[in-house]
């Protein structure tokens, strides 16, 4: 007798758990508003990427064309596949001291794996990720980018 009750209980519990699973999937079926798919080329104009999305490495500049890069080269050392090349120069400051400054910050997008080691290890937070993801170009040379804008300077107070 007890085994029969257990048999029936087993069936009941089994059916109940199956129905629970079907409730979840049927719930998704009847709520199409929760669909996450983006119709990408059609909604290109108003597509907003997530803040954490790693599109490409950029160097943010402020309004007076100043960046935070001191040219220390830590990003270049940390980059696992030689994507970044920092070309620095020596400048003379107002009080007559010699100081290292950045000449060109070369970023090779074609080699980048978006591991974010450069962004994470930068001591002065000079690098960041942009949300731009349409990287396709017709010429391989245009994948090599210079991150510091021409004529830009080191921001005041960043050492």
């Amino acid at each position: 007798m007890r085994s029969i009750i257990e048999y029936l209980k087993e069936i009941f519990n089994g059916v109940l758990s199956l129905l629970r699973g079907m409730r979840v999937t049927a719930g998704y079926f009847f709520r199409p508003s929760e669909i996450v798919t983006q119709k990408y080329p059609n909604n290109r104009k108003d597509l907003v990427m997530f803040e954490r999305f790693k599109g490409e490495v950029v160097m943010p500049h402020n309004e007076s064309n100043e960046h935070k890069c001191t040219g220390c080269g830590i990003c270049e050392i940390n980059c696992p596949n030689g994507t970044i090349e920092v070309i620095s120069k020596t400048i003379v400051t107002e009080d007559g001291k010699k100081k290292r400054a950045i000449d060109r910050h070369i970023y090779r997008l074609g080699m980048c794996t978006f591991c974010a080691l450069c962004v994470k290890t930068c001591p002065s937070n000079a690098l960041a990720f942009s949300q731009k993801f349409e990287h396709a170009v017709f010429d391989r040379a245009s994948l090599i980018k210079q991150l510091n804008k021409p004529g830009s300077q080191l921001m005041k107070g960043v050492e």
Binding site: L18, G21, M22, T25, Y28, P32, V36, K39
Partner: protein, 378 residues
């Protein structure tokens, strides 16, 4: 004056032009009589058979293509995706594009394959499908063959598709195909038992195996309501075991992708693969329409006791719409099964059949016979 068109609209619905939607014999009988009057009876039969055959061919293709599309959409919605949405509005022409692609694909001859059986196998599966489709009542008077043993005939015919599956697996000269076909055959044969017993429960209740009479008997109430709990249990068992019989998930071990690539149709390509693919979906349509006919009243509208107004509104919807709606509801449930549950192991499959479905089914038949004997059903 302004409302004249409404009166003409109503008269159009009640007039003779729309009557055939509610009784198709109004459309078919005059044609039959006209043919009988113009040509000899032999040619009448030939012409009618050709017309019915062409209609079934078109129906087969349209339903198959639509079901492939529906499956992709249902699956997508369950997984929070959009599904096909590029070709045509909401992607409705996606499967037609797929079909055109499959038509153009090369049919690769298999080395050391038994070419006769290899080429015949897809057609066996399709012929079996057509034979089963012919006996299904689609609407009032829209019924190709009305056997007095209709449901028995459908069961007998649909179990023959396993021959095509086994031939395909054996003649492919591939271990994946062979194992897939063997699994598929074992599964179909063992779950046929449950399907048969679940349908016998309803045959006991209706007292006939003729499908048109089974539908007619549900005029006062669908069997799933008439037969109380035994009918509901039989319905659940039927849906589960028919899912297993058509080799769909979660019972799709015959084509477990990770183990057997694609099961018995691994070696097929091009349009022959498409035949198998379509046949699987039409099989799903057939089992769903049997479920709709036996349990949910076929093309019979939904009636509640003495609610005259409500019954009138329900009668206004054409029977074919009722039939299609019920069938697609069952198909939706079967699709929900596939995209909800993980695949069963072979021992779990056999446990489900022999330790649960079969004993429950036998007890259920006993209870149903008792109900019918005592006259406790509605």
């Amino acid at each position: 004056m302004r409302f004249d068109f409404i009166a003409s609209y109503v008269s159009a619905f009640t007039g003779p032009w729309w009557k055939f939607l509610y009784d198709f014999s109004l459309l078919t009988t005059p044609v039959h009589e006209w043919l009988n009057g113009s040509v000899s009876p032999f040619w009448t039969t030939v012409i009618e058979m050709v017309v019915v055959g062409v209609v079934f061919l078109l129906f087969y293709a349209v339903v198959g293509l639509f079901l492939v599309y529906a499956e992709r959409k249902v699956c997508a919605f369950i997984q929070n995706r959009l599904g096909p949405n590029r070709i045509g509005p909401y992607g409705i022409f996606q499967t037609i594009a797929d079909l055109v692609k499959l038509l153009f694909k090369e049919i690769i001859p298999i080395k050391n394959a038994d070419s006769l059986l290899f080429n015949i196998a897809p057609y066996i599966v399709i012929i079996v499908n057509f034979m089963a489709l012919a006996a299904i009542p689609y609407a009032n008077g829209l019924h190709a063959i009305d056997f007095n043993i209709g449901i028995f005939y459908i069961l007998a015919v649909s179990s023959m598709s396993v021959v095509g599956v086994l031939l395909a697996g054996w003649s492919s000269n591939s271990k994946y195909s062979l194992i897939g076909a063997m699994r598929s055959g074992a599964q179909i044969v063992s779950y046929e038992l449950s399907i048969g017993l679940a349908l016998i429960t309803i045959v006991i209740l209706s007292g006939t195996m003729q499908l048109s009479e089974i539908v007619e008997a549900q005029r006062t109430g669908w069997f799933i309501f008439k037969g109380h709990i035994p009918a509901i249990i039989a319905f659940i068992i039927y849906v589960i075991s028919s899912t297993a019989e058509i080799n769909r998930g979660p019972f799709d071990m015959a084509e477990a992708e990770s183990e057997l690539t694609a099961g018995y149709h691994t070696e097929y390509s091009g349009i022959k693969f498409a035949f198998f693919y379509l046949a699987e979906y039409i099989n799903m349509f057939i089992v769903a329409s049997i479920a709709a006919t036996m349990f949910l009243g076929g093309w019979m509208p939904f009636h509640i006791g003495n609610l005259e107004g409500f019954n009138m509104v329900m009668d206004f919807i054409p029977p074919f719409i009722w039939y299609i709606g019920k069938t697609f509801f069952i198909i939706w449930i079967i699709m929900l099964f596939k995209w909800t549950f993980p695949r069963l192991r072979i021992d779990q499959l056999l446990t489900l059949e022999w330790k649960y479905l079969l004993p429950i089914n036998l007890v259920n038949i006993l209870v149903m016979s008792f109900l019918v004997l005592k006259g406790w059903h509605f």
